[in-house]
Symmetry: C2
Subunit: 349 residues, 2 copies
């Protein structure tokens, strides 16, 4: 740990957020050089190409028929049985409170450690929340939640145990939620989107991360038709904005862009891993949209990069962990390389 680090209050504790805020980065590191390199999220830095939207996308209420089209496009892209199983929403975040209330308040078990919003929202819905370390431990829960691949460590759970667990939980009146927010960048064989027809299963898919369009707020719940209808009833009409509708339709149907970007992200993630290794850091885990490090020097590295204007993601509940997103431009890659180089040169514990 650097002397500089010891002299200031623990910056990690102040970052009980979800990343992606340059305001917070500036508040933590007011002396850092601008512009900031924001590696604090797992959002694709190469966003789907922006295009001109028709004025009606802003002015008029979104057409119900166009929303059905989007649901069909999402079903095809994610491998869900039909458009009737798809619930389009302004980001999966907006669905969490409604999903947590699909079962009466009881016991929620979450495969952790993972994205903190799941525990927060389950508790808000009246559930007693427990974090468990093994998928088998979800069985007795009324509401089971797992993130696959997991955020932030990238842990992957195979399809079969998930499908089995959903069936067992359903037999006891429970519901299994599988948050596949980062599934786009992995082999599709682990997604359970195709298994929702069996019931007892809700799959969450995020649009903004892989397509690099987090600002438009678009996400989907995939679930058997009766539960999908319930969720649509909660959201009511016009849940998805006109701009989100247009981008969703175009990008989800663009398999060329998707294929090319899956490849690019894999190449970039490997490049990031090489940089981290060259700086003497331990082997990372994660997904192609972010890398995850767990080692005693994580707070010092967070601090070092922050002072160089590079924001990464620290975790108040895991002080020895750091998540690092992908740089976008070559100048961002160079700044990260230089900062890691100087980090290597400093004395560490």
């Amino acid at each position: 740990m650097t002397t500089d680090m010891e002299a200031k209050p623990n910056p990690v504790a102040a970052v009980a957020d979800h990343g992606g805020s340059l305001e917070r980065a500036r508040a933590l590191f007011p002396q850092a050089p601008e512009p900031w390199v924001d590696l604090s999220t797992g959002i694709n830095p190469h966003s789907y190409p922006l295009f001109d939207l028709p004025a009606t996308a802003f002015a008029r209420l979104p057409e119900p028929a166009r929303l059905d089209e989007l649901a069909g496009q999402a079903a095809a892209a994610y491998g869900a049985p039909s458009s009737h199983c798809v619930v389009p929403a302004p980001g999966t975040q907006s669905l969490l409170a409604h999903i947590a209330r699909l079962v009466a308040p009881g016991r929620a078990r979450i495969l952790g450690p993972t994205y903190a919003e799941h525990a927060r929202v389950a508790a808000l819905a009246g559930h007693r929340v427990e974090e468990v370390g093994d998928i088998a431990a979800l069985e007795g829960a009324d509401l089971g939640i797992l993130v696959n691949p997991n955020n932030p460590d990238g842990r992957m759970t195979a399809r079969e145990p998930i499908v089995d667990m959903a069936a067992r939980m359903q037999g006891r009146g429970g519901l299994l939620v599988v948050d596949e927010a980062f599934m786009d960048v992995t082999s599709d064989t682990h997604s359970v989107a195709g298994d929702i027809g069996q019931g007892g299963l809700v799959v969450l898919r995020s649009f903004g991360k892989f397509f690099g369009l987090a600002g438009i707020r678009l996400g989907f719940a995939l679930t058997a038709e009766p539960l999908a209808e319930k969720l649509k009833d909660e959201l009511g009409p016009w849940a998805v904005s006109g701009p989100a509708l247009e981008y969703g339709l175009k990008a989800l149907g663009d398999s060329d862009w998707q294929r090319a970007n899956r490849q690019r992200l894999e190449v970039d993630a490997a490049r990031l891993d090489r940089l981290l290794a060259a700086a003497g850091l331990p082997q990372s885990t994660g997904t192609a949209l972010f890398r995850f490090l767990r080692f005693a020097g994580a707070p010092a590295l967070f601090d070092h990069l922050g002072r160089h204007g590079i924001m990464t993601r620290a975790f108040s509940a895991m002080p020895n962990a750091l998540r690092i997103g992908l740089p976008g431009s070559e100048s961002e890659w160079k700044r990260l390389a230089a900062a890691l180089e100087s980090y290597r040169g400093e004395p560490h514990e």
Copy 2:
């Protein structure tokens, strides 16, 4: 009633919707001339001028500090005591289910007839729903709801009785929701946005109607801070999209545009009233964003205008009523005038 009307199944029964869908208009009147003149909503046809959005509004997660700025702008525009009382959301529709759950399932009373979503969502939250015809009848309810000015008939309830009722309901543990979706186009003196500090009161303000930007999905709940915090907790982070954030900030701060458009809408509503009167129709009520007719010939007029490619809003629960929005361009005004002229020439009951 025209012979043509009697020959086909009642088209009004098929329009159990909220207006604004040209797909539905085309399905009902497949022979109608294009383009459609959509007068089926109460959305300002002269939308706030579109402007170029920064790429970051689409790509990045919306900054929490920018959302706070929007809350402050909304507080100033609507006359709420502070930004902490403002809950920005992707349309007020998305707030209804959360608001209905701020009180335990009990008795919901709605001053009706009014916007149908309030009753639907209150029932969904487990309330026994009753429609009442007088504000005094709200008193015994756990959840009271009134729309002011009312949609579709424009009935206005004065500020003082509302504030009194909220206080009385709060004394019994109840909550009063005042949907001010169309308050922008009336004298501000009837808004209770400034009274939310007393508690027991939630005010809904819609952004898309007055600013003519229904597609971006933006609306606000205004309520005392403890309830505002609860609603924000339900929505979670990033509830409002980047495009909605940018438009909200600019348009809510643009008092010149607001003043000019309030005047224009009043002029246009008076012009619409003159057209209706010239066609021998009864005196209308409503707001400056829509006019409302209640007379036996309403289904025939809906049908006549529909066959001329002009979509208005019929109500399955009020077959003798029709709501007519404002034409936008001069060519739309001309088509409406011509259609009303030929309606006048037809034999009516």
